[in-house]
Symmetry: C2
Subunit: 236 residues, 2 copies
DNA sequence: CAAAGTCAAGAGCAGTGCTCTCTTTCGTGC
DNA sequence: GCACGAAAGAGAGCACTGCTCTTGACTTTG
């Protein structure tokens, strides 16, 4: 919102920000499926059709919220990881994991929008979402890479055979992200990524059942430690 | 549907089965959020209000589909595991994992209903869903327990410290399920469970992106092997 | 100051979950 | 073989949804 913009542009940007804010609050109280353009308009103090001046469609509103969510998660993860010494590789992984979980528990509805069931009929436009959507795996990959470069990765678990096709995929990823870590480490990282979000999803989505774990914090820490060891990250 | 039932009862059971079938097909084409009692009625060739003779509400219809889905997944997992020698513990785990993934890819919408975002405003009634809903973790736990009893568990990864509260939870679970496996193995199993579904969810929900992995089968096998090793399951 | 651009309002369409009342169908006990 | 009553279906109606289209008013710009 630079001052150089016309008053029109500034007012428009402000309204868009308001719509995002209200949309996220509705997401939090009613879920993505029940997200209602009319309800957002009501909360904005405006007639329903007026919203379509700012947002092309309900899908566009969803994209707004998706990008907003990815960015907030990315910021939280970056902030948490930034507070850890760069050479404490296990610590950086733990910090990332904790940040993901903390954000997911704080914003379960937005988390569900990003990492839960696809919203039927909605396809996130890649050109707007891939950037913000890859920040967490980006942060994780930097940890693996730094650990490899530092030569501290411990092969705690035997490396499975890697078929040719999978090796090709790994090679492409390594090239795209400009990495030096070998296939085995890269692919182990993918497991760590998926497993981390699996743990968070199970807790946020209530798969454990209501009364199974009285200490979900401890459970998650335990899972993170096991994952860090499986990834071969050494204690600080 | 026993023959002992009256014609009326049999007709009713048949109609209920039809409703489930149609409901699941709608789930597959439009998602849980868009599941509409009226649309099911239309496909059944019946007026919308007539459905309410069979299903108390939309939530009740959802519960029908949830139970149906858990049962189908449970059957698939049991069948796959049953085809493996009981003393091939790693093989049993791999079979369970493959069965979960195969079913999830075959029925992504039902998978999303069971393991994705909670459906807003819907709370699955525990008395009808916990039974069918715990069949997969039940199968997994039997593998851990059998491996422990057979004395073949290899501690590939160092066991993290287990806080008192978490140990209490583990103890309760062990009592409820009549297990002998120690806390560490039990909790490692919980990670394996969550991680398995994390991997499946990432693939089914498209988190990897469209073109990242050309060989998702190989990727999943790789992840399963790593998980099996982290769980300490020995090769056959 | 007038043209161009921007925006809010409202009516209206097609769909939703669900309830209520009314009619038809059909199995069963006599 | 048939009348009865329970079960099932039909239809209207209420209050809601996302979204489109038209109309008229306002603001910026040349």
């Amino acid at each position: 919102m630079p001052d150089s913009a016309t008053p029109r542009q500034r007012a428009r940007a402000q309204t868009l920000a308001d719509i995002t804010r209200i949309g996220r609050s509705h997401l939090a109280t009613e879920g993505a499926a029940a997200l209602s353009v009319r309800a957002v308009a009501r909360d904005l103090g405006v007639v329903s059709s007026a919203i379509y001046r700012y947002v092309r469609s309900r899908d566009d509103l969803l994209t707004l919220l998706v990008v907003d969510g990815y960015d907030e998660l990315g910021d939280a993860v970056d902030a948490a990881e930034g507070a850890v010494a760069r050479d404490d590789l296990r610590g950086r992984f733990l910090a990332i994991g904790r940040a993901v979980r903390a954000w997911a528990l704080r914003e379960p509805a937005t988390y569900a929008l990003l990492f839960g069931s696809p919203v039927p009929g909605y396809q996130a436009p890649a050109e707007r979402t891939t950037g913000p959507g890859t920040r967490v795996i980006g942060a994780l990959v930097r940890v693996w890479e730094d650990a490899y470069v530092a030569g501290v990765v411990e092969a705690a678990v035997p490396a499975p055979r890697i078929p040719r096709a999978l090796a090709t995929d790994a090679r492409r990823v390594r090239k795209e992200l400009d990495l030096t870590a070998p296939d085995d480490l890269l692919l182990r990282g993918v497991l760590g990524w998926a497993a981390l979000f699996g743990c968070v999803s199970f807790e946020v989505f209530g798969q454990y059942g209501a009364d199974t774990f009285s200490a979900p914090n401890d459970l998650f820490e335990h899972q993170l430690e096991l994952l860090a060891s499986t990834m071969g990250l050494p204690a600080a």
